[in-house]
Structure formats: C-alpha cells, structure tokens
C-alpha cells in the first residue's frame, strides 16, 4: 500500500479498482489493539473482522493478504502476552496450508479437486450466520429489558371473620404487663403514701367511660404518674367492674387493642 499524498490520487488499488477514499478503520492505536484482540470470539471472528475491514465478501477470501495480516495479529497477541488460545494457532496453520496449496499450479484436468479455500469459506459463512443470529437474538424483545409481565395479587387471607373472639384472662394479663412495663419506665423513686381506693377508682373509670362516647382503649385508663400501685388499683377496679357487669370488655382480634365500654342498659 502506498502512502497517501495531498493530491487526490488513488490511494490504493484493490482488485484492480482504484481506491480514492481512505478506508475507515485503517489505523488502530497500539493501546486499543489489546482491547480489540480480547474482544474477538475466536479465530473465525478475527478472520471475519479482517475480511470486513477490507470491505470484501467472504467468498473473495484473499488468502494471501489475509494470511499475512492474520499472522501479524497472532504475533501481536503473543507480544502483548495475551493468553493465546490454541485455536488461533491452528487457524494460522490452516491458512498457511491453504496458501501453499494455492501457490501450486492448477491442474485443469483434475476438476474434482476443490478450491482449497472452499472449506474455510464454508466455515466462515456458517460462523457469520450464527454471529448475525446471535445479534438478532440480542435484539429480540425480552423480559427484564423490554417486556414487563403483569401480575395481580391473590389475597388468600379470609377477611370475613366477623365473630367476636372471647377474651382470655391471659390476654388481659398480657395487656397489663405491657402497661406495667411502661409504668416502670416512668417510675418515681419517692411515691407518696397516698392511699388509693379501688372503689373510688371504679367510679372514676365509670365516669371516664360515660364521658367518652363509645369504647375506650384499655391502656388509656391508666395514669402513668401514679406508678405501679396506681396501675394495680386501676386493674383491680376494671376486673371488679367486669365482674359486676357494669362494663364490657372487647377485643377485635387476638393480641389487638382491648377496649372497654359501659354495659348497655337493657
């Protein structure tokens, strides 16, 4: 290949045709080469690249120049100490073999003799076929990238439980421990010896409940500032009121908030 001059002279001659425009992809900076070499998917891919670089058809496989370039690339690969797969060397040997066979004179009488390039051309064509097929596959719309699958939730919890569960004493005690635990965090070390009357507390609760229309949360009946003894007195008062059937105690579902309300007068 000749060096390009300023005059618009043919840059090179390819298959007897003058090439005026400088082909793209002619100069590869050495740094990029390493990356390019690593991106080849094997010797067939490299050969295809070399053929495409010359804007040639696979069928025109110019064994001589392609072999020279191929060997140059393989040498570069060794130079860059890239892990050179044996397949690349096998291909170099095959190219050299084809090249040497083509240098031999053609015997016109031996018509059955196949062109030494035929087998390689077939393999290149087959590889190119699947290279394109892989690119087509990559472009197919696919789940995650282009397709979003629609789903509906199936709620299998039976939401139609309407009956009121009985409240176990254990539930009440559990609620009490919670309140006790809370009260403890507000505990004062000096509690005045104020006597708390259970009866008085019972009236207070009844008053509180009648002031508030509708059920009141169990925990709201406790006054934290009274400390542990206050909590105990309130709890006993509530139990007493339930026993005397003056108030109703209800809970919507296990371990949910417990509500107290006045017993409805019949």
């Amino acid at each position: 290949m000749t060096v390009v001059s300023d005059t618009p002279q043919p840059f090179a001659f390819l298959n007897g045709q003058a090439v005026i425009e400088k082909p793209e992809d002619l100069y590869i900076p050495p740094d990029a080469l390493e990356i390019i070499l690593e991106t080849f998917e094997g010797p067939l891919d490299l050969l295809l690249y070399l053929i495409k670089r010359h804007k040639l058809d696979i069928l025109e496989l110019p064994i001589l120049s392609i072999t020279q370039q191929y060997v140059a690339y393989v040498e570069l690969m060794t130079e860059f100490r890239l892990e050179l797969a044996g397949e690349y060397l096998v291909m170099a040997a095959l190219l050299a073999q084809i090249k040497s066979r083509m240098l031999l004179p053609v015997h016109e009488e031996l018509e059955e003799e196949e062109d030494p390039r035929a087998e390689l051309v077939r393999r290149l064509q087959e590889y190119e076929q699947f290279k394109v097929a892989a690119e087509n596959l990559d472009e197919l719309p696919r789940v995650e990238r282009d397709i979003f699958v629609a789903h509906a939730l199936f709620d299998d919890s039976d939401a139609s439980i309407s009956e009121r569960p009985d409240i176990d004493v254990k539930e009440l005690l559990l609620a009490l421990t919670e309140v006790m635990a809370r009260a403890r965090t507000f505990d004062h070390h000096q509690v005045s010896a104020e006597s708390l009357s259970t009866r008085e507390r019972m009236s207070d609760i009844l008053q509180y409940l009648s002031d508030h229309d509708g059920p009141c949360a169990f925990t709201n009946l406790f006054r934290i500032d009274e400390g542990r003894s206050g909590v105990v007195v309130t709890f006993i008062a509530i139990l007493e009121l339930i026993k005397e059937q003056l108030i109703d105690c209800l809970q919507v579902s296990p371990s949910s908030q417990i509500y107290l309300s006045l017993q409805l007068q019949e």
């Binding site: 998917e41 069928l59 087959e126 590889y127 699947f130 719309p141 789940v143 629609a150 789903h151």
Partner: protein, 194 residues
C-alpha cells in the same frame, strides 16, 4: 362437574392467568382452576379469545408464550415503564448469545458441535449459567464415542424472549451455498499475487 356461564368462565380464566406466578397453559388451567368445571376446549379457546379482545385497547395484553398465557405490558409503553426499575437489565456476552443461538437453531446439539461452528472452546461457565437460567437443558446423549450431552432450549427460554414457539425465532441469515462453488471455480477470482 359444575356448569358455569361463558361470562363466569372468562372471569375465572382471566383471574387465573393474572394471579399465576408463571405463564398458564391450557393444560394446566384444566388441571387446576377448571378441574371441577364443565368446559370444553372450544369454550376455553373462546374465553381466551374474548379476554384477548377485551385487552386490545388497554395497556396490558394477553400473549401466548412458550409455557402458556400471560399478561404483559404493551411494548409501546416500555420506554416509560422501564423507569420503574433502577437496575439496568442484564447484558449478555457475545459468547453467551452465540452459544444460545446455536442451541436454539441447531438443537439438539452437542458442545463439540457448538465449538466446531464457533471455532473456539465453549466455556463451562456459559453452559452452566444457561442451564441455571433454565434456558437450555440436556435432552439426551449422542450415540458417538464419549456420549456427549445433547442440548436443547426450554419453554422458559421462549417465555424470556416472548416467543410462542421456536418457529417464531427470526430466520437464520441465508447462506449462499450455490455461489461458493461458482465463484471459487471461476479462475478469474483467483487472487493475483501481490
């Protein structure tokens, strides 16, 4: 066997496809939700057609993929919908895609045959990850020395690429078989030495 109206059948099939984790085939529909319901294949087909028509004008459509029916968002909405996910969809290497393409178009195929076309050895990682994704499976062993495994694609592969069958794959690029011999036997094409 319970009798249901056409409307009830449509409702049931529509809901079943929507709540199913995987695409739902007609066979599976009959084995599960329609187990105790008197519904002929024809009635099921009609119901599916009517659901499909119903969604013609919506953002969701009913599609048939490898392992059955599923609902998916219309493709024209993809550019907007993709903003819902921050993570980019995985990209697959050329080696993976070429291997997958060979298995898809040439199945059942051995690993050796894949290597022959690609001209390089196929890494075990690629075969392993394709099998883990359940896109390929071993369907048998070739009766040749070494009894190599024969690989084929799965319904999950079809589901992933939204194909109802292998015939829906794009056609393989054409090979000019005739031309090879013609051109190669033509002495004028012979390369002149440089």
């Amino acid at each position: 066997m319970r009798r249901v109206s056409d409307e009830q059948l449509v409702e049931l099939i529509e809901a079943a496809i929507f709540v199913s984790d995987k695409p739902l085939s007609k066979k599976r529909l009959k084995e599960t939700v329609l187990k105790d319901i008197a519904a002929s294949n024809m009635r099921i087909d009609e119901a599916i057609n009517s659901i499909s028509e119903h969604y013609q004008v919506r953002g969701i459509q009913l599609v048939a993929v490898g392992s059955g029916y599923r609902f998916q968002a219309c493709k024209r909405l993809t550019p907007w919908l993709s903003h819902l996910w921050q993570e980019k969809a995985p990209k697959y290497s050329r080696a993976t895609l070429e291997t997958l393409a060979l298995i898809a178009y040439r199945q059942p195929i051995t690993r050796g045959e894949i290597e022959q076309v690609r001209g390089v050895s196929v890494s075990s990682n690629i075969m392993k990850s394709l099998q883990e994704r359940e896109w390929i499976k071993v369907v048998g062993y070739k009766e040749v020395p070494g009894k190599p495994a024969l690989y084929a694609t799965t319904n999950q592969f079809l589901d992933y690429f939204s194909l109802s069958g292998l015939s829906m794959l794009p056609d393989l690029p054409e090979q000019h078989d005739v031309k090879i011999d013609q051109i190669l036997s033509d002495p004028s094409v012979r390369e002149s030495s440089e």
